[in-house]
Subunit: 248 residues, 2 copies
């Protein structure tokens, strides 16, 4: 850092102090009679996973049933069938295919029966087309954490459950509109036999008429709804496939 930069930083810090802009937000003061304080504004839907130190995993990675793998970032094929509702226009059912990239934190235990494995979506790219709506591209909303986890099954030979709250955008290319969700699209599977659940067609979104908002008017009223979604996790993709999907 140059002397000028250092001086600039000091001045900035001093001025920020004057303005109160540099203060840490104070804890909300508990209401009278409240023992444990009050719930904060939820900025994220769940914990953020640190990607540093996790390796990307591609085609060739071995998956073993009822086994807890080391942390890593899974690059997996993904397909889904989504049903949208656009008020005044009706329902639209579409098939999508592409990939997603799931960051798995290091597990606290390697014991399948006891392991809760926490994840974040690190990327998602899907594309589909519909004879009326045209091409639709799905991309992860990188401005929101998409958190998830597997749940300890309690038994070494029992399947685990998993959930991920996904924040995405749907670009309706030919409609000139991109919509996004403000409540998580809750992807879940109540019986996975491996982590990750490769070649598993039993993923569902647990949701109800999930509102979608126009990115050009994000604080406005919903412009569409996601009514149903089922998904299939495929297998690990190759580096080249992942790169091709990332360009969507």
């Amino acid at each position: 850092m140059s002397e000028y930069e250092a001086l600039g930083q000091q001045l900035r810090s001093f001025l920020a102090g004057l303005l109160g802009a540099g203060e840490a937000p104070s804890a909300p003061s508990p209401r009278p009679g409240r023992r444990n304080g009050s719930a904060p504004a939820a900025t994220d839907w769940g914990p953020r996973i640190e990607l540093a130190g996790l390796d990307d995993l591609y085609d060739g990675t071995e998956v073993q049933a009822y086994t807890v793998p080391d942390g890593g970032i899974d690059n997996l094929a993904l397909s889904s069938t989504d049903t949208f509702e656009i008020p005044g226009r009706g329902e639209f059912r579409m098939d999508f295919s592409g990939y997603f990239r799931v960051a798995r934190a290091e597990p606290e235990t390697k014991n399948w029966a006891q392991a809760n494995v926490f994840v974040n979506l690190a990327d998602m790219k899907l594309t589909g087309s519909h004879n009326e709506l045209g091409t639709v591209n799905v991309r992860l909303n990188e401005n929101v954490v998409s958190p998830g986890q597997t749940f300890a099954p309690g038994d070494r030979s029992a399947p685990a459950a998993c959930r991920i709250g996904a924040a995405v955008e749907f670009e309706l290319e030919d409609q000139g509109m991109t919509v996004f969700n403000k409540e998580p699209i809750l992807l879940m599977n109540d019986a996975i036999e491996a982590i990750p659940p490769v070649e598993d067609p039993n993923g569902m979104a647990r949701l109800y008429r999930l509102p979608l908002f126009d990115t050009r008017n994000p604080d406005g009223m919903p412009v569409a709804y996601l009514n149903r979604l089922q998904y299939t996790v495929g297998n690990y993709v190759t580096v080249a496939q992942a790169e091709a999907f990332r360009a969507i």
Copy 2:
């Protein structure tokens, strides 16, 4: 405003300008090839209803089936049965009773077939007790918008669907812990015959092992889960009843 106050405001504004603190956040720059910009960080789960101009409604308010009422704020009895999971301790099923206060925006149309009526939770107070967990109080998380709506049924004699994404805190008084949700507790009913749906026992939460976080460690890992919830909307409460519930 005194001269000193005005001067202070100008100075503050000038300094904020120097620091960039007074600038409106710039729109995220679209990625190359992206037509419609990208989805923003979702600060709220949905649109905020303006309470000003809406009257509180209590016992004595008439509810008519298949009729769209004027905007207002419903003060209604509410009961629920919730099942929590605390890792390492098991599942706990509890009955709660109390009230909620639901702000209904003025409808865009009075035609039942065509009306989407938008709502926010304006208050919620429930209490319950469990022989092992002790007393648990449920309160609305006022730092988050809890948005919802009814859906136009398309027919004058068809029931409507409704959804509300609730942000609450559960104060486990005797455990010395308060937990809250970062993903909405999605209260829904797919067939309501009146707005509001008084004396309707068919409310459910559509969720899956919804993570709950400790208010003392809001950015930490989940400490409990909400596994199931069903609810019954009762009738309008009296002013005195609402005041008693508010003290919970």
